[in-house]
Symmetry: D2
Subunit: 151 residues, 4 copies
Amino acid sequence: MPDFQPTNPDYAQAVRGSFAKQGIMRHIGATLVDIQPGYAVIQLPYGDDVSQQHGFFHGGVVGTIADSAGGYAGFSLMAAGDGVLTVEYKINLVAPADGELLIARGQVIRPGRTLTATRADVLVVKNGRETLCGMMQQTLMRIVGRAEVTG
Amino acid sequence: MPDFQPTNPDYAQAVRGSFAKQGIMRHIGATLVDIQPGYAVIQLPYGDDVSQQHGFFHGGVVGTIADSAGGYAGFSLMAAGDGVLTVEYKINLVAPADGELLIARGQVIRPGRTLTATRADVLVVKNGRETLCGMMQQTLMRIVGRAEVTG
Amino acid sequence: MPDFQPTNPDYAQAVRGSFAKQGIMRHIGATLVDIQPGYAVIQLPYGDDVSQQHGFFHGGVVGTIADSAGGYAGFSLMAAGDGVLTVEYKINLVAPADGELLIARGQVIRPGRTLTATRADVLVVKNGRETLCGMMQQTLMRIVGRAEVTG
Amino acid sequence: MPDFQPTNPDYAQAVRGSFAKQGIMRHIGATLVDIQPGYAVIQLPYGDDVSQQHGFFHGGVVGTIADSAGGYAGFSLMAAGDGVLTVEYKINLVAPADGELLIARGQVIRPGRTLTATRADVLVVKNGRETLCGMMQQTLMRIVGRAEVTG
């Protein structure tokens, strides 16, 4: 993991404050479990409310927490008062998301003045064993001097 | 829209039955409003439960209903007893999803024996006016003789 | 195809001038055969120089002309003096590119002040019959007041 | 880098033989400089023949060698007699490809019976300094018992 220097000394608080306002994260039961400069981790326990028809996590849910993990990884490097938008993301669902817990680890690969590129890996935990189930690549856009609008 | 011939005469019932089992669709309040051979439309009214921090639909939610719309467009062309998996999808969030209703229109572009390629457009409706807010491209995989596992 | 109004009245000349400077287009034998506001078409005849090992067009070549077709579709809507950069593109190779001619049709889906989203379809012609072989989705970035740097 | 076990003991020879038959690689001057199980590196010196209009490597060329690097990384893990097809790839062009040499490093992230997911990073070298300029994510399909058709 690259060693990024945050621009905003209160980046962790800025990320946590923004995350707390995302209604969908609360609604599906996702929590932000780690935030470091250029890196964010989101977890989500399994439940019928996040399932597809065979009892696995829905692929859209895998994408949702990957999008947020990447978005907050990027947001952590921005200046106080900046906002962030997801321009696009692409996710490969490389294994069924079959398990009791989903973990999305987002990290900045290349931060930029306007655009930032991130990757995220999504792991599913079943009986204590982690399996990679999602691989994401994402473009974020910094919105100068505007409260964050990630997602 | 191309004129596809369904393999399964009961394709609409198969799609509706599968959709009804997706816990996440019920949990966020999404409904399947149209299903034709190679084409599916999903709608989702706005609410705090599907929001990001500024009161727009979350980008992951836009991706989730796009993924399902494309998935069911593809599933509608498969044989009775087949299943479908999302291999990957990519979505461009081309405008803020700011409005009271989200509409994802998925359609098959190229059906294949093993893999099917789809596209979906996601529109947001505000004060009766539609704006394109999401553009998706997706790969689906047919699982022969196995109940569907879309998403 | 949407009806876009060009900002630069000399957009066609600007696009042709830029295309002529792309060494790779000349090297592989690609030509720009149509340019309209928000729309560009590039053709490429088959030859051993653009092949993969089984005598089809290489997937990277399919991506290359799709990237340029989308890029010039976007560039046609920009102001005189602007430049354009490809931020990212994603291509699905939905059929073998087996034939004597490749045709990439790029079009703008959503133009924006900073970012523009495009799609391109790539067709392969064999014995006079067109088959869709590539589907692209792309993000472009406008560089204000800087000579174009597409690709 | 994960520690993959090759199925085909002659994987390196199989990859080199296939690469040698890709006309486009010879035509643009790309060479395969490393092949290990699940890992492939392709290099390409700069020249006018691979340029866009401002004297950088064309984005489509960046995508082309990334596609081949990922494809051969995947092919290295397949059985003798198998073939490989690129289903789709997505590339973020995160910095101008401005330099004298391009290096694409492809690696398998998740090998599968039918589908394999890879990532590639593309670096550009200028005055001896490497800069990440492309990030790719890709899906490959194994074609059982058919000579390889990568790309």
